[in-house]
Symmetry: C2
Subunit: 427 residues, 2 copies
């Protein structure tokens, strides 16, 4: 197989070749390293690479038994996850050269399943808004989005088939949309978060990126331990709720065109498509997510705020000051509101199996600012699983897509629906 | 003031002396260190102490401005929290000599408020059941309880006025009960958990120990950022729900006597005491808590399970194996059930302001096994705030008490009620 074909293949296509020993993990790792050598100077997706260690791991996998669902698959790890064999900076100079004692739990699970970690990928500063050096591989004048910038860009640019990310506001779905890859944020609480730098413990969630729904399903199956995420049968006929949300006026022409195209195609083919009746006060979730995140980040980053203020960016210091000035009484009331919402939102899924809704306000903005997580905030605070599906092209040839949101805990149904929907939208 | 009087004083009594400079933090730290030197060989509460550093910190506080609510107060930190200046082992040989880069967020907040960390206190192995060397200071043939063993024992033995702990099943309330101190577990999500070893991210909560309700209020105010936790006015007349729970048959004679005494005294003095009508299926919460914790711990400790199996205790390896064999599909359903319960339990507090309920099945058992968290599990998975109140003496002179449970987010009302109740029970 030629190298560029290998580089472009999906994980689910590579996986059977690897487990049947028709493809060596070593050769696949070499192909990825070649692509990285070619493109990293332009894309800047990585904070650190260890080609020799990756090749040694690949050779050991080739020589040993099949390890699991990710056997031999090269993977990138957002630099917000602790790793025992790579420095871990959380996107900040405060942690220059820091070498944790252990792998974060999700990294350990992926390695146990046979993944080969090639390197750490760029995160914005503590997964907030101050960008790293990563560029959008489709057009380097544009942002890849954040905070999982390097993971999304590396997968989009065929450097790797899979990468880990995290989302608190929009840090998986938004870079997936800007880079034109599939991003998957599982249901809140289903994926262990030990050893992942904590921002907002009531919302932080681990997920990842691939170039197909099946690929994020493989990764999701390992992260959650739920084999159904990588083993759907035919997607059942489904009821799709079309949900523009109260933020719809912020969606630009590209997103509106993608919406029109998707709703037309799906209405013609899905069993039951209906507009979602907006739940009362749904618009309040945006500010609620912002407030809870700001309050919690200021406290999560206490050590850094107190001891390393001069090494934090001005926007981050400003956020931390805002957060420390916020009322804990109000935070407690907001957590109650969140608990009621998480209960209440379930009713929406008695009428719809999945919701189709925007991922972003538009294409990746020009410059380095990582864009607006507006359309992701509600789903983050509700803790519902979501998947970004890239299927269209907007201005300047940059990718556009939409997200599907599923019922809490029904991640496998969401992925089966996403696969079915994605097939129809890509046609 | 003589040394043993200083050692026995509550934090809320010491605090005004420290801030008015009538007592030097240095002298208080010396008094605590004296007590530790006297008793540590018997109690074994600490994994590590740094008297010189503590004295230097105390002198700096004496020489500088008043820092905050914990100004000059000596504190112990459970060895499940990262600390930049002490080795951190999480109660396991796997982490021998490990020195994290940063303080866990709650430690940073306490230090920012002026606390002087004297040392790290013994945790059971990764806060599960395998005990450390700590003994119950009331009777060294008995357990101090776990997992926050050293923190509860050190406070009970007047080595320190305050200490940090964590609870996932019963790791604050149970050792508080066995050692006869006040333990406070805040509402889930109110206290930042960054840098605290993760066991079960959907339930882990940071709290602490003191010898009075006012003392845990001081600590709670710093941890949550809610000043109301240390500044109640007179406790309002309140409605107390008496809730034996379906586990009542497991309560032994000591607990039953304490219950009879408390309900008699409170019925005579509180405005409105009623027996709680047990919510349907409430008894299911025990198994639910066990299942969720087992599933999540196995994944949280992935790195240790995969790479250090030979250095984990047999009971922990067995738990981790059980957890890895559990169904993720079932875990997802259980998280849905938890979300519904957290919403639904709120209705109970329309009839009662606080609930009086057992903390433990009895006094601290003889031997090293850390006892049964049975009466704590439901409140842990529900995420409700609770306080253990010691007020009676059981067999062999060991302490007995009960816990009060509050409405979600109403930690300040819980503490005000606990203060009022504790005054009446101690009479």
């Amino acid at each position: 197989m030629n190298t560029s074909r290998l580089q472009a293949m999906d994980a689910w296509q590579l996986s059977p070749l690897l487990t049947r020993r028709e493809l060596k993990a070593e050769d696949l790792v070499r192909a990825c390293l070649e692509r990285i050598a070619e493109r990293e100077g332009t894309v800047h997706a990585f904070t650190q690479l260890d080609p020799d260690a990756a090749l040694a791991t690949a050779r050991a996998l080739d020589a040993g038994p099949v390890r699991g669902l990710l056997h031999g698959l090269p993977m990138g790890v957002k630099d917000l996850f602790d790793t025992a064999d790579f420095a871990t900076t959380y996107g900040s100079a405060v942690y220059d050269g820091y070498r944790p004692r252990a792998d974060a739990s999700p990294v350990a699970l992926c390695r146990e399943a046979g993944a080969v970690v090639l390197g750490k990928t760029v995160s914005t500063e503590f997964a907030y808004f101050t960008p790293g050096p990563t560029r959008n591989p489709h057009n380097t004048a544009h942002t890849p989005g954040g905070s999982s910038s390097g993971s999304a860009a590396a997968v989009a640019d065929n450097m790797l088939p899979l990468a880990l990310g995290t989302q608190t506001a929009g840090s998986i779905i938004r870079p997936a949309a800007y880079c034109g890859v599939v991003g998957f944020k599982p249901s809140l609480g289903r994926v262990t978060s030990g050893g992942v730098k904590s921002l907002s413990p009531t919302m932080d969630i681990v997920g990842g990126f691939g170039r197909s729904v099946r690929d994020v399903g493989l990764l999701g199956a390992v992260l959650t331990g739920d084999a159904r995420l990588s083993g759907w049968s035919e997607a059942a006929p489904m009821r799709i709720g079309f949900f523009q949300t109260p933020s719809w006026p912020q969606a630009d022409d590209d997103v509106q065109r993608a919406w029109a195209q998707a709703t037309r195609l799906l209405s013609a083919q899905a069993k039951d498509c209906q507009d979602v009746v907006t739940p009362d006060n749904f618009a309040d979730l945006i500010q609620l997510q912002k407030d809870v995140m700001t309050f919690e980040m200021a406290r999560a980053l206490s050590h850094e705020r107190i001891h390393h203020r001069e090494r934090l960016s001005a926007p981050l210091n400003s956020l931390l000051d805002d957060g420390m000035a916020m009322s804990s009484e109000r935070h407690a009331e907001q957590l109650r509101t969140v608990a009621h919402w998480r209960h209440r939102i379930d009713a929406l899924f008695e009428r719809h199996d999945v919701l189709l809704t925007p991922s972003t306000t538009g294409i990746a903005p020009e410059g380095t600012a990582t864009g607006d997580p507006l359309f992701c905030r509600s789903w983050s605070i509700l803790g519902l699983p979501s998947v970004h599906l890239p299927f269209a092209t907007g201005q300047k040839g940059l990718p556009v897509g939409l997200q599907l949101v599923g019922r809490f805990g029904q991640d496998h149904q969401l992925l089966a629906a996403a696969q079915w929907v994605h097939e129809r939208l890509k046609e």
